[in-house]
Symmetry: C2
Subunit: 142 residues, 2 copies
C-alpha cells in the first residue's frame, strides 16, 4: 500500500499521458503490498471497469520500459509486477512460494547484498540486481 506516491505525477514525470487505464494499472500495483501477475491485475481491473487483457500487457510493458514498474521473475512461468524503486520504494528482495505462487516483499535489509564492486568492474551495463528467495511459505507449510 502506498500512500505517498501520486500516480498522475509519476506518469507525467515519465512524460506519459495519464490515461484512465494507465492510472488504474499503476494504482492496482502501487496499492498492493506484494507484486502481482499480469493476470491478477487484469482480473482486478476487468471486474470493475472492463479492460482488454492485451491493453494490460501493453501498459505493463510501457510502465516497465519507463521504470515506473518493476518486472520481477518468479520460480514459475509468469512475471510479477511491483513498483519500481523510487523515493518511496527502495529495492528489496522477494520471496516466492513455489507451492501457492504467492510472492512477498522482504525488507530491504533482510538480505544484505553488496554489489558495489560489481558495478565498478562489470564490463557492460547493469540495469538491476534481482534477489529472489524461493521456498515454501508459512501457510503452505502447515
Amino acid at each position: 500500500m502506498c500512500k505517498q506516491c501520486n500516480y498522475e505525477t509519476l506518469l507525467s514525470a515519465a512524460r506519459l499521458d495519464a490515461t484512465d487505464n494507465r492510472l488504474r494499472v499503476l494504482e492496482v500495483i502501487g496499492n498492493n503490498s506484494y507484486p502481482l501477475s499480469a493476470a491478477d491485475i487484469f482480473k482486478t481491473l476487468d471486474r470493475t471497469y472492463r479492460i482488454n487483457r492485451v491493453t494490460v500487457y501493453r501498459i505493463l510493458d510501457l510502465l516497465v520500459e519507463h521504470e515506473l514498474v518493476d518486472r520481477i521473475s518468479t520460480g514459475g512461468r509468469a512475471f510479477y509486477y511491483g513498483m519500481a524503486p523510487n523515493a518511496h520504494h527502495h529495492p528489496h528482495p522477494h520471496f516466492y512460494c513455489k507451492r501457492c505462487g504467492q510472492m512477498d516483499c522482504l525488507t530491504p535489509d533482510s538480505l544484505n547484498v553488496d554489489s558495489e564492486a560489481l558495478w565498478k568492474t562489470f564490463p557492460g551495463r547493469i540495469d538491476k540486481v534481482e534477489v529472489r528467495v524461493d521456498g515454501i511459505c508459512k501457510n503452505c507449510m502447515k
Copy 2:
C-alpha cells in the same frame, strides 16, 4: 566446463538410472560454462543423437527435482539450466543480457550476499536464494 564432476556418479548418488539421455543432458549442462535453455540443450543433443524435445524437458524436471541441476529464471520467458550447487559448484549470481539473451555466471563473491539472518528468522522453508544481474553485455554494448 567441469572436469571434476563424474556424471554417472552424480546420477547414481541421486538413485537415478544413468540412461544415455540423462547422461547426455547432464554433460551438456555440466560441460558448458554458462547456463543453457531447454531449447539450447535440445538443439545440441538432437544434432548428434536424435532425441525428443519432451524427453529433454522431462529429464530436466527430474534433474532439478533431484537437485543435480539448477533451474534459473531469466529476465526473459524461458528458464535456463546450470549445475546445482555441489562440492565442485558453489552458488553464484548470474548476469542476463536482455539484448541477446546470453546468461553468464559471475564469480561466487562478485556480489556479497549475506542471507544468514534471513535463514534464521524466516517463518517458512527457504530452498534457495537466486541473485540475477540484468543489463546489457559487453558485446551488445558496441
